[in-house]
Amino acid sequence: MNGAHDMGGAHGFGPVVQEENEPIFHGEWEKLALALNLAGPGTWNIDMSRFARENTPPSNYLSRSYYEMWAEGLETLIVEHDLVTVDELEAARRGETFEPVAEPRLTSDRVESAMRRGGSTRVDEAVAPLFEAGQRVRARVDAPATHTRCPQYVRGRVGVIDRDHGVFVYPDTNALGEGPKPQHVYAVRFEAEELWGPRSQGGAVYVDLWDDYLEAV
């Protein structure tokens, strides 16, 4: 979707400001927002959670902190996946209590091994690549209203395949529950001038793009 999350090249946000002696978390609620997302029941995938966070009016997206978005995204997901109702979310905020209906997926004794294992979206499947290193490609012009990982600033622009990263789950279908549609992901090199014209500061931008985002030039 062409949402506020797709920020590459936008103007007006001002300078990058570093926080001195920044703590890992700013308050207990940030710890909880992270941990609840990681401990969750796992009935959704990473692309569904990204879509839940970005699919909000730009004014909301831009006024929330990272962990606020994570918390709000989790509320969206647990309702969408029928784990809880909106009424129950509101009742919980009033302090009401609930009966157990499920067993936790992740118990404390398994946290470290689960984090160390992670969850690669690389797919061990022999899918033929559509492009090869050195080839010129154009990022397709498209504007899906649903989740995609092809940023707007490269759409329609020509670059060169730098390297083939291998076969991965395709986010656009995965986010919609329409399957992994495994395909190759490439680092595509775009010259800065191709993206930003005469005002570019030189050099190049490398963007990881899936087969379906690209066409031969």
Partner: protein, 204 residues
């Protein structure tokens, strides 16, 4: 007034709107049995204690002192990093970018905040912020200046936008005058920002 809160008053019993919402989520999900309360504590502890930029610094220092390891790190980064003990969530498929006298690499995620957790920990606020995400790709040299990093015009700046599930770690240039330093001494001077690519490593 939910948004009229003051972050300085941590001892206040008034919960902000977001604190209330997150606590409600916690009660709801733990009581219903979807989430194990003890797992929440273990998760926070893991992210506070087991991951962070000191991990990445160890990897970089090893690559600076051991040419065979460096070659492995560049060709099979995920395995080479795991051999030092760092692996897993948000580092499942790593790529290491080597800075040279001709090329400076810098990493961003314009679409969200993808970051190599096992080696760098959780991302700092600036990395997740709109100014960095919007400008790193379009005006990298201006962004570098804001970090105090001025690169010669002859150096090519390459910005890597983490739009897929690859996670990028920059292998910075080893500073001059550190030839007789030990791996441990070198690890001390490798900063988080140098491994994101917004700074270079300088010897004190």
């Amino acid at each position: 007034m939910a948004h009229d809160h003051d972050h300085e008053h941590a001892e206040s019993s008034e919960l902000t709107d977001i604190e209330l919402r997150v606590r409600a989520l916690e009660s709801l999900l733990t009581q219903k049995g979807y989430v194990d309360a003890a797992a929440l504590d273990a998760l926070v502890q893991y992210h506070e204690e087991k991951i962070g930029p000191r991990n990445g610094a160890q990897v970089i220092a090893k690559a600076w002192t051991d040419p065979t390891y460096k070659e492995w790190l560049l060709s099979e980064p995920t395995a080479a990093i795991a051999s030092v003990g760092f692996e897993g969530r948000q580092g499942e498929d790593m790529v290491v970018l080597e800075n040279t006298d001709e090329v400076h690499n810098m990493v961003v995620c314009t679409l969200c905040s993808c970051y190599p957790w096992p080696v760098l920990g959780l991302p700092p606020v600036w990395y997740k912020s709109a100014p960095y995400r919007s400008r790193a790709v379009s005006e990298p040299r201006s962004v570098l200046s804001e970090f105090g990093t001025e690169l010669d015009d002859s150096i090519e700046v390459r910005v890597w936008d983490s739009t897929a599930e690859l996670r990028y770690l920059v292998l910075p240039l080893r500073p001059e005058g550190t030839d007789d330093w030990t791996e441990e001494q070198l690890a001390e001077i490798v900063t988080r920002n140098s491994m994101i690519g917004t700074e270079v490593v300088v010897a004190p």
